[in-house]
Amino acid sequence: MDLRETDPACGGEARGASARSGSLTRRYYLSAIPITFVANTLIGGFLWLLLREDLWSLMVCSHAIGWPILLLHGAVHLVDRGERVPEWAVSAFSIAVGAVVGIGLTRAILRDRLWPLDLRSLAITAATVLVFGVAVSYFFVSRALLAKGQARLREELLAREEGARRLAEAELKLLQAQIEPHFLFNTLSNVLQLVDSDPPRAKRMLRNLTSYLRGSLGRTRAGATTLGEELELVRAYLEIQAVRMGSRLAWRIACPDEIREVPLPPLLLQPLVENALRHGLEPKPGGGEVAVSAAREGNELVLEIRDDGLGLDPRQPAGVGLTNVRERVRAMSGGRGSLTLRPAPAGGLCVRIVLPLDPAPPPVRAAGGTA
């Protein structure tokens, strides 16, 4: 976990991005050069209007003070890469030292041509420099913070998307490896019995087991699949379970033919159907029904898995399957898709997935690459 204590004041907000945004800082100082030039010239002009002293001298004075402030500010940031010093302190330091250096510089340049100015002029000059300095610094600081904030936001968004994608990918691999041994051995036991008692059913069971294994183990490497293929995997799984559970399991799959070719990332429905059986129907003494449906609603694909089993145990953590499907739905649809769980009216659980059906860019392809 990334829990860092940061300092008070605005400087704290910019932290974190600084290490990665050296180029941003450079760009920021380059853009500050013309602005500083204009500001210094304006200050000189303002002082001239106020004091009616020699314009050339006032310009020299103004620039001689303004540039050291900018340079000092940049230098402090160059040394303080980790930005441990708060921004206000950097500004105060730059203005104070910059003003002293600037006055010395002015004297050096002008010699005693017009220097010293009288006490009143000096006070006004100092006050003006201070006010402008603070205003300009404030302007720069907030601009820098804004730019850094935006850069950080962009980076964070990218990192988060990348992170979510990797997580989902890793977990999908885990999911593939998670064929429940219970399921496998019990299915084989059933086949063993049916070979003697009902050979045609034994054959069908083996064929379904083959479809199930191929769909769960191999298909994921092929990337994106279609809704029809996913439903075929679900059908094979439900037929096996119907033999195992006998009269305790009833099931339905409803999907109009015209949407069977819609691309869909692999193992999006199957883990949810497995959940419905494992947590909803298998542990329920009387068993029940699971209904899987797919439909196009406007420009969205709506997938539903509804069972009348035991419902969600509020103390049973969301399994790898559900979490993985949720993450992938989120990643593939750029936040436009959703996965919602609801208690079903007849008891049990209703899981609903809504995915955008955009012609271009196909959202499924984007996630297909991840799978």
């Binding site: 976990m1 940061t6 019990n186 298998e282 103390r315």
Partner: protein, 248 residues
């Protein structure tokens, strides 16, 4: 001597049929009773008092282990299981008979042999084994799902989706990303039910999910402030709870 009776219990009908057929081959004089779940098995046991019970471990409603506990040593028990790693070790240690699914004739023949030899002896005492297996279950479970009202629908929200619980007057506001819901469970009750490793109380009126925290900063008056990863919410940490963050 009357023909021995066996009770075969499995929730999968084909597997009951399979075991019945295999027993008929290996132990022809054995009478077989069938049950598809725990309660039916116990009812049959009380009326017929079989000498042997073949119990599937994983069954809906009542596990085979629970059925064995209720039978309480009044008959010889053989556990039948597809895959129960932790239980198998325990069975081995306690020298309790078990068979693996798919059940093989050779292995079942051994079991039948042993049962025939032991039939006159009193059944093994399983109390210690069952107590040990019961202890394997997780001791404490936490609140993992919340029911929230989303417009007119009831929606289930995984606890791990929640970023923040914040109490306001009579309600608790549940924040998840950009979405907010209101529940009636008081913060105090939530704190008791949620996993303390994943959810921290940070203020009299706030519980935060640790994984949802992006960073912690200090505001101008020196108070710690928690920033969430999603959204730009900043939640103050009261002094009483600040110590947890300082240790990090």
């Amino acid at each position: 001597m009357k023909a021995p009776t066996a009770l075969v219990v499995d929730d999968e009908p084909e597997l009951v049929a399979y075991l019945r057929a295999a027993l008929a081959r290996l132990w022809p004089e054995l009478q077989v009773l069938e049950a598809g779940d725990g309660p039916a098995a116990l009812a049959l046991f009380e009326t017929h008092r079989p000498e042997v019970a073949f119990l599937d471990v994983q069954m809906p409603g009542m596990t085979g282990l629970e059925v064995a506990r209720r039978i309480g040593g009044r008959c010889h028990v053989v556990f039948v299981t597809a895959f129960e790693q932790y239980a198998l070790q325990a069975f081995e240690q306690a020298a309790v008979d078990y068979v693996l699914k798919p059940v093989e004739d050779d292995r079942l023949a051994e079991t039948v042999e042993r049962l025939r030899a032991r039939l006159l002896a009193p059944p093994a005492d399983l109390t210690a084994l069952l107590a040990a297996l019961a202890r394997e279950r997780p001791a404490r479970e936490y609140l993992e799902w919340l029911q929230v009202q989303d417009r007119k629908d009831l929606v289930l929200l995984a606890a791990d989706e929640v970023d923040l619980f914040q109490s306001s007057e009579k309600y608790t506001v549940v924040l998840s990303g950009q979405s907010e819901w209101i529940i009636r469970t008081p913060l105090q009750d939530l704190e008791e039910q949620l996993d303390p490793a994943r959810f921290w109380r940070i203020h009299r009126n706030a519980i935060v999910r640790v994984g949802a925290v992006a960073r912690v900063s200090r505001n101008a008056s020196g108070q710690l402030v928690v920033h969430l990863r999603r959204g730009d919410r900043a939640i103050p940490v009261s002094r009483a709870y600040a110590r947890r963050f300082k240790q990090m």
